[in-house]
Symmetry: C2
DNA sequence: TTGCTCCTCACGTCACGTGAGGTGGC
DNA sequence: TTGCTCCTCACGTCACGTGAGGTGGC
């Protein structure tokens, strides 16, 4: 039997035979005068044994030991294979569940499925692509910073912010916000055309709308604390917003605490 | 943020960052004067997006396209991920079922689980290690040659051969067979001490015991046909048996057909 | 000076797949 | 001479892990 015959009888490729020789699970047979390998039945048997063990998930390296071991000494090997397979299946099943969840909610892939619906809702209420993107990126950051333990609390927060009345009010405010200095993104380049009056007005409007929600969230006693990551979050909004928009945000930030305790 | 900071915030290794740069999913950031990479929040966001898509099973190569695609254009991607995961889980589950089957029957790993119990039974009836090994190897060959379609018929054959009465008779015959020329394995080296009379006696005894079983198997109309592989199977027994043992087998082979039609 | 972080190669992983380039056999 | 099989390198796969060897920063 030469390589081709053995391979086709056993149902493997010739390259696989070579590989088995290389790693030492299948002994090199004698050669014919022309250099062709000359296999015997024993090689076929060994090859079939290799195939069977490999199909069970035994790594090639461990096959020689497994084959020469006493017939009943395989308990340990089978146990470890089973554990390994169980773990792999669990991982893949979790992945598939995630995929299924994303399919049913048809939300963005790059944020946690729990938050997807909120973001979808917000962006449909607020047609600005730019602001929607900022929201999504901010959510990605918040979700990661909150961690798995913080997720339920983050969800609770997002739920409060999705109050229909609040959303309705936010929609008009966001339109005004979007209109603020549209054009000069992330740079002091052109001094904005927006008047200080509009900036102040908008700041106050935001505060009015937001304060009750923030109050509720505070009172819920969420353990979430992003102060350690405030710099990161600030860097993000700074990069993404126009100068007048940043002024509004800064104003809201500055006055929020005072308004909350009023 | 330098590499170490970004990596620890995002929960990846620094080497992973380098890899993402190399394959182009994460842009190279600017460098500080000392050559250190200087990352920003955008890099963190991108990194978190990469982690999330990778966790879904999206290959790195496809991540940039997935991230820049329209939010709702992911149906196709999710479908293919789901199919892929389903197939993988099915494969692993089949493997695990196999492992479980081998654990409960605690049979040899290198033969099909369906045949394991028969071999275990035979080898316990016949304590010769050498003969048991030959049986096992022969079974491995037969199982492969029969293929998946032939397995049920092979099992039926093995079942018939496991008839308790037949096994009891075979046990004593196999002891005599094993005693035949023990010592000169697979070579004409020492002319065997076994008498021609014992060889003839044993041949006849085997025929008497085997003929009814073979008759039943023939009548069952099994579609199995190993004549195409007869040379392979013969090579195997020739290699594994002593000269007098081979004489017995040859005798059985020669006279079997005639006895069947008597 | 010591310890820590950063940097750039570059090989290893696992079981082969896939050419590249060359030589016997019918 | 042509087509087929065999042979030996040797690189590629996928997402990084793991040193090796060298240089700034506190």
């Amino acid at each position: 039997m030469n390589s081709g015959e053995l391979a086709s009888i056993a149902g493997v490729t010739v390259r696989a035979l070579r590989h088995y020789h290389q790693v030492g699970v299948l002994p090199e047979p004698a050669r014919s005068a022309n250099g062709y390998r000359n296999y015997g039945v024993q090689d076929l048997i060994t090859l079939l044994q290799i195939k069977r063990l490999a199909a069970l998930g035994v790594p090639l390296e461990r096959i020689p030991a497994a084959l020469s071991a006493a017939d009943d000494g395989h308990t340990e090997l089978l146990d470890s294979l089973d554990r390994e397979l169980e773990a792999q299946i669990a991982r893949l099943t979790a992945q598939r569940d995630l995929v299924a969840q994303l399919r049913t909610t048809s939300a963005a892939l790059d944020l946690p499925p729990e938050l997807g619906p909120f973001l979808a809702q917000w962006s449909s209420a607020n047609p600005s692509k730019r602001l929607a993107k900022i929201d999504r990126e901010q959510s990605i950051l918040l979700a990661h910073l909150a961690g798995a333990e913080g997720m339920p609390h983050l969800v609770a927060m997002f739920e409060r912010l999705s109050d229909p009345a609040l959303l309705a009010e936010m929609a008009t405010l966001m339109a005004r916000f979007e209109a603020l200095g549209a054009g000069d993104v992330a740079g002091e380049a052109t001094p904005s055309a927006s008047s200080d009056a509009e900036i102040n007005d908008l700041t106050e409007a935001f505060l009015t709308v937001i304060v009750p929600a923030v109050r509720d969230i505070r009172e819920a006693g969420s353990p979430l604390d992003f102060t350690a990551s405030a710099a990161l979050l600030a860097e993000h909004t700074d990069q993404s917003l126009t100068v007048p928009q940043r002024r509004v945000l800064a104003g809201v930030d500055e006055k929020l605490e005072a308004r909350l305790t009023e």
